[in-house]
Point group: C2
Chain length 226, copies 2
């Protein structure tokens, strides 16, 4: 638990999967913190000062020291507050957790976003959905227990909140099917368990307002591309 | 030092910056290992079995357990063999080392490769060189001492072997200037110190044969795109 002397804050935005990862990690650890809402359409001087390289949320600030990149932040949180470990302690299991979390970002989320933004390039959309789908199949085969962390959620589960909550929402907005119960039965069951986890269900944003917000953004992207 | 019971091998290819990172890390630790040369034009069953997701080198194999992704491998090596630490022990300094190493891969190396491959798209080439250059400027400002690790090389220095050796070589092949002593005086001085480090200078590949090899590959890429 953060002591009274410590200042812990999270610069974030509601609706960001990468911010949600940090919220889950902090809740698992029982760390109290201040949530600083960022307006991504009009970025604050604080965000630009603390994350000049990416100019993105989340930025985690511990006693005035800023850290960016969600997976880097989670490792810092796990090393700073030891209760309820998020990464495995065994070096090989830890390496695998880092590897699969990186796969989620680089081989699942990145091509997924490229597919969403390829609004008038069907070929590019298909290619990127295929890339994301292939990596999802590898991840599906990694799932051996209730969670990636076994009986408890760990680093890979937290990274995969993107798959459990954001992919189903955004693929519906963009009108394609990547992640379905038929194609990925084990991952789909995992996603239901994960979203019903007592900590996670409090922290994922309400679906309907976010759907309306993303749909409006997507429709304006389509209009602009015609 | 690896004991006689341990089997340590590195599946790699001469000329890969990501493989060279692992070679430097293993040499710093004093770990003996078997180098398994991979033919990237005709990938081995072993590589495809051990790294089915990326099908790329390096793959590090410790007692038959494979690990991929160069930065993940270095963290595993550092956690498994404690002598001559590569990452800082302080959690905040460790987070910064992870952050900057990720910047090198995502914001310097990735756009650099996109610039190289944009052989007949001058606009795309310029955009990517600009992105890489902007991140190099941020990294230049991070350099406060002889090495990123202070008096000794550490995680960020090892990640940045890509900048010290590969960028100067490949930008000459592709005929553009990104990393020069005039534009990045501190990083350039660092690169000279780093390449003259007793361990590093033995492990970077001989420049001339690699230049000839990359030039032939690049020329065939240009021919194919006309």
């Amino acid at each position: 638990m953060a002591t009274n002397q410590e200042e812990v804050s999270l610069i974030g935005a509601v609706g960001s999967p990468f911010v949600c990862r940090i919220q889950i990690a902090l809740k698992l650890k029982g760390i109290e913190y201040k949530f600083v809402q960022e307006d991504l359409a009009n970025k604050s001087d604080l965000l630009l000062k603390y994350n000049p390289v990416h100019k993105k949320v989340p930025v985690f600030v511990h006693n005035e020291k800023p850290i960016s990149e969600s997976l880097v932040i989670i490792e810092y949180i796990d090393e700073t507050w030891k209760q309820n470990p998020i990464l495995p302690s065994d070096p090989y299991k830890k390496a695998l957790a880092r590897f699969w979390s990186k796969v989620i970002d680089d081989k699942i989320a990145a091509p997924f976003f490229r597919a969403v933004f390829a609004v008038n390039d069907e070929k590019a959309r298909e290619k990127n959905i295929e890339e994301s789908s292939e990596a999802l199949h590898f991840l599906e085969n990694e799932l051996k227990e209730k969670f990636f962390g076994g009986e408890e959620i760990d680093f890979v589960d937290i990274a995969a909140v993107f798959i459990a909550f954001w992919i189903p929402l955004v693929q519906e907005v963009a009108g394609f099917e990547l992640f379905t119960p038929e194609k990925f039965p084990k991952l789909y069951n995992w996603s239901q368990e994960f979203l019903n986890h007592s900590i996670v269900k409090e922290l994922v944003p309400p679906r309907e307002p976010l759907f309306v917000y993303f749909k409006a953004k997507y429709d304006s992207l389509v209009s602009a591309s015609i």
